[in-house]
Point group: C2
Chain length 66, copies 2
């Protein structure tokens, strides 16, 4: 599961910590997400999409094996 969170976050001029605060998670969670260590819950995905002004489908891409 690939994601483009980092790209859109930077485009918004936000630090990981700032984004984390906006969606109520720890900074490490954002960091791990950008490193594709795991896939966020649907709730978090929706919040991220909302803050970043994108559709979830823009942020995440299904891969072989998902």
């Amino acid at each position: 599961m690939k994601n483009n969170i980092k790209i859109f976050r930077v485009m918004k001029g936000l630090s990981q910590e700032q984004l984390a605060k906006e969606v109520n998670v720890s900074r490490q969670t954002i960091n791990a997400l950008e490193a594709a260590k795991y896939v966020p819950s649907t709730v978090l995905a929706l919040k991220l999409a909302q803050i970043l002004g994108k559709q979830i489908e823009d942020l995440f891409e299904l891969e072989e094996g998902d």
Copy 2:
């Protein structure tokens, strides 16, 4: 967290079991989802949106407390 899975599933003329097979989960998972017993993983949400021809944002709606 509300969802419209049932509505779109029926519009597609699919049974719970058929939809379940398409997205590789048990039939009961679909049933529980439609009963809003829980929110599916992002992976499953993406697959459902794909099969139903909708955006995740069309299927799920954030509520107070999510």
